[in-house]
Each structure stands twice: as C-alpha cells, then as structure tokens.
Amino acid sequence: MITTFYKILLGTTLVGITTGIVGCFTLLNKQSLLGDTIAHATLPGLTGIFLIILQKQYTLLLCGAATTGLLGAVLVQYITHTTKLKKDAALGIVLSTFFGIGIIFLTMIQKLPTAHQAGIDKFLFGQAATLLNSDIIVLAILSCIIIGAIIFAWKELKIISFDPAYAQAIGLPIQKIHALLLILIVLTVIVGLQTVGLILMSSFLISPAAAARQWTNKLHVMIFLSIFFSLIATTTGTVISYNYAHIPTGPTIVIIATMITLISIIIAPSGIIATQFRQRCRNRS
C-alpha cells in the first residue's frame, strides 16, 4: 500500500524522466515551440471527449488529447510545407484556433448541470494531487513506450539531431524519423498533462534540456543530466504543491526548472562567466 504522496511523486517522476529525454531531441532539432502548440492543441480533444462521454474516463480523455495534439502538429507541418508562411505563423495559427475550440467546449462543459465537470480545468495548470492509481499505470505504460522507441531508434535520432545533412546523404528516412519525433512529443505532452498542465508543458520540454546542453556536448551525458535536472524540478514542485493546496504543480515546477537553466547558462564551463573570464585572459596576453 503506497501512500498518496509517494503515488503522486511516482507520477511526477515519470513525467520528469520522459520530458527530460524527449526535450533533448526537440531542443537539438530546434522544435522547441512545437511542444507549445501541441500542448495547447490537446485541449479540444480532452474537452470534446468529455462532452461526449460525460465522465472522467482517463484513458479516453488522453486518447482524445493525443488525437487533436497530433492533428495540430501535422497541420503545422502542412502549412509550413505548402504555403509561404513561416513556421512561427503556422504555430500561432494552429495554437490559437485549436485552443479556441477547446475554450468553446470548456464553456459548454461549465454550463453542464452535473457535478462531473470538476477536474477538467485542472488540466490547464496541472494538479498532481488529482492523480489516481489507475492513472499512474497509464502514465507508466506510456513512458515505457516513449523510452523503448528512443532506444530502438537511438542512432537515427542522434544523427538527425546533430547533422541532418549527413543523415540525408547516407539515405536515412528523414521524413519517418521526424514523424517518430512528432509522435514522441505528443506522447510526452500527454504524460505531462495532468501534472504540469497544458499551458506550461512546453517550458518543461525546453528548460531541463537547455540546462543540460550547457554542460556537455555528448548526447547521452546530456540526456542523463536533463533527466537529473527535471527530476529535481518535479520532486521539489510536488513537495511544495502537496503541502500548499492552492499552489498548482505546473508553475512551481516550471519556475524551478527555469532557475536551473539560468544558473547553468551563467556558471557552466561554456557559460557566460567562463566565456568572459577566458576573453579577459586572452586580452591580457
């Protein structure tokens, strides 16, 4: 029998591990803001499914979220490939349109007479305390799928992250690898929905990886550091929001993770202080 606190901690740890790993690949592929759009695009799926089944069936809600999240990601790719619009415009259009639909559904849900609606708005900013035992099992399965897929396609993902031109030259199926990465981002966002919340999910994909990038040039070291940093953030965030009921988990985690990144940017071996110091030495000699 595990206590509520350890159950929640287990849930957030899973989130920390998956975002830590997948975040490295999105950062290196310069896809950071795609996570933001995907996370916002999950809202219509989440609320739409809820409007149909009218109960908090966790697995089905997540399926809905994954569907619209993936649809949003595909639309972004489609717009950037077929029109003259740049990627940022495509991201903005998809994000705001999907979120608009989500808000329409959300206001419909809030007008429902039943008491079932409680909890849907917790997905916006995340509240780890609402995790149930069955939810944790779903999260664990999803995390295993994500980690398994990354181990399986490790070499391809690595090459495409560091040298896309070389990947093309040796004939790797670039389109397929990008599609895999897209699906991995969607799954990671789904894992984090209830804990971090969909509004701040993108930041949590970026900051641990960005912090880790400051300390190393090796991919496997970067991934372990990224997991380490994101676990610090999730654990501290969980402890704080568990003890103070009105503090949502998501923002707490994001603040801690960003602090780690900013400190890393300043004090890491390739960071601002070291660069300045080296420059000064060079000027003197």
């Binding site: 705001s96 349109t97 979120f99 329409i104 916006l124 940017i265 390739s270």
Partner: protein, 281 residues
C-alpha cells in the same frame, strides 16, 4: 439587450482591428510568436504592479505591463545573442517563467480579487459592457470600447506615420541601416505597439486567444496578396469578418465569444489555404 450586443460587437471589432495591424509586420518579420511571449509576460507585469499598487484600475498597471513586455523581448534577445540557446528555445524559456510566477502570485495573494486564472485564460468579454465610463454623471458607454478605440487610433497613427520606415526595416534591414533608419529602433517600436495592444485586448480575449487576433487575419491576408498595403487592408477586412462570423457561432453554440472568434479566424485561414491549393491563382 440589443444595445449590449451592439456594444460587445463594437468592442470586439475595435480589438480585432487594433490587433491585426501590428500582426502584419510580425508575420513578415517571422516573429509572430513574440505575441505569444508578450501576452504571457504582460500578465506578470499586471500582477506585480497590482500587488504593489493594490488597485486594478490604476494607470500604473499599464506601465508595469509595458515594462515586463519589453523586458521579455530584451531577455530573449540577450539569451539568443549569447549563443547559448537558439531563438525559439529562448522564447519558450522566458515567457512561461514569468507567467508561472504570475500564476503563483495570483493563487497566493490575489485570487478572486479582480484577477483569477480562468478569466486570464479566456478573457471576460461578456462582462465588458458593464464597466461604464462616466463623465460628469453622463453614461458614455463601456470603458473597454473607449480604451480599445484609443489603442486602435494609436496603432493607425504610428503605422501610417512610420509606414516607410517599418516597411524598409521589415524587408531589407541592411539597406535600412545604411539609409539611416536603425532597424533595432523600429523593432522596439513595433514591440511597444504590440505590447500596448495586447494589454488592452487581454481584458477581452484572454492571454492565449489574443494570438489568434494578431496572427491569423494577417497570415490569411499574406496568403492572398504580395503587396504590403493590400495585405494590411485585407487583414483588417478579414478581422472584421472573423468577428462577425465568431459572433454568429457564439450565438448558435451559446459559448465563449473569444473562443468562437478564434475558431472563425482559423476556419477562414484554412478555407483560403485550401482554395489556394486547389486553384493556384
């Protein structure tokens, strides 16, 4: 009742026009998502100033919001310039950080005191007509309508006065530099205009849907035309159509107006895009 409906419509049209104008330049410069960053960061400025001043209607809140908006722009640029992060990671790191601090501050100190997290996300357009502007006891209509129209006038004035400079710095910043128009200055002017627009629009549209008002009409116009002047006029027209369609939609669904306008904007964009695809010119 109809009177209130007309007022709502006028507020929405003013908001949509004011947002669409700077949106054109943001789209052309490839910095559309800075509107996302600004709208989140501005909340930080509003909350912090509110906690210091203690009055949500204080004009100081406006300045606090502008300062935090420009701070975000400067911070992302510094992070990008330092070479430690690429541009979109720098944006994605900065604004959620400020936004998170704002959300926690609201939850700790200001919940239910004119600021709550739901209203921030979706706006409270439906309540806008109830805040009336009274001059010498005369009812002069909703405050939101007056303030939004003022912002719209500022945007029209600035963009028409600096039209040549904005055009030049957008399309050829190197040439603009040699001609003596510093691109950075006009970049910051554009950021300032976007910030004050978002601060006002924020009350009616909320933090996230304001992106639709800024980005989508301008992007649709960009698909249709190549000329800047035509693009600006088209984006205004599309913004008005979006508002009207959104109102119809909201009425039928009995749902959020800002959400429906975003959906209408998106639908118009996808229709134009598919039309271009099927019949290229």
């Amino acid at each position: 009742m109809t009177c209130m409906y007309v007022q709502l419509l006028l507020i929405s049209v003013a908001t949509a026009l004011a947002c669409a104008l700077p949106g054109n330049f943001l789209i052309l410069r490839g910095t559309a998502l800075i509107s996302d960053a600004l709208s989140h960061a501005i909340l930080f400025g509003i909350v912090v100033t509110f906690l210091i001043v203690g009055n949500i209607n204080s004009p100081l809140i406006f300045f606090g919001a502008i300062v935090s908006g420009l701070f975000t722009v400067t911070m992302t640029e510094m992070l990008t310039k330092s070479g430690k992060l690429n541009h979109d990671a720098a944006i994605g790191l900065t604004f959620p950080f400020l936004f998170s601090i704002a959300v926690i501050l609201i939850n700790l100190f200001a919940n239910n005191v004119h600021l709550d997290t739901d209203a921030i996300l979706v706006g409270e357009l439906a309540f806008a007509p109830f805040h009336k502007l009274c001059i010498f006891g005369h009812d002069c209509g909703p405050v939101a309508l007056w303030s939004m129209s003022a912002i719209l006038c500022i945007n029209i004035t600035c963009i028409s006065y600096f039209y040549k400079e904005l055009q030049l710095t957008t399309f050829d910043s190197l040439y603009a530099q040699t001609m003596g128009y510093p691109p950075r200055l006009f970049h910051y002017l554009l950021m300032l205009l976007t910030s004050i627009t978002i601060i006002q629009a924020f009350h009616t549209t909320g933090t996230i849907l304001v992106i639709s008002f800024i980005v989508t009409p301008a992007a649709t116009a960009y698909l249709i035309t190549q000329k800047l002047q035509q693009m600006i006029f088209l984006s205004c027209l599309l913004a008005i159509i979006g508002v009207l369609a959104g109102f119809l939609l909201a009425h039928h669904l009995d749902s959020s107006i800002a959400g429906s306008i975003s959906l209408a904007n998106g639908l118009i964009f996808f229709l134009v895009m598919l039309n271009k695809k099927i019949r290229p010119n």
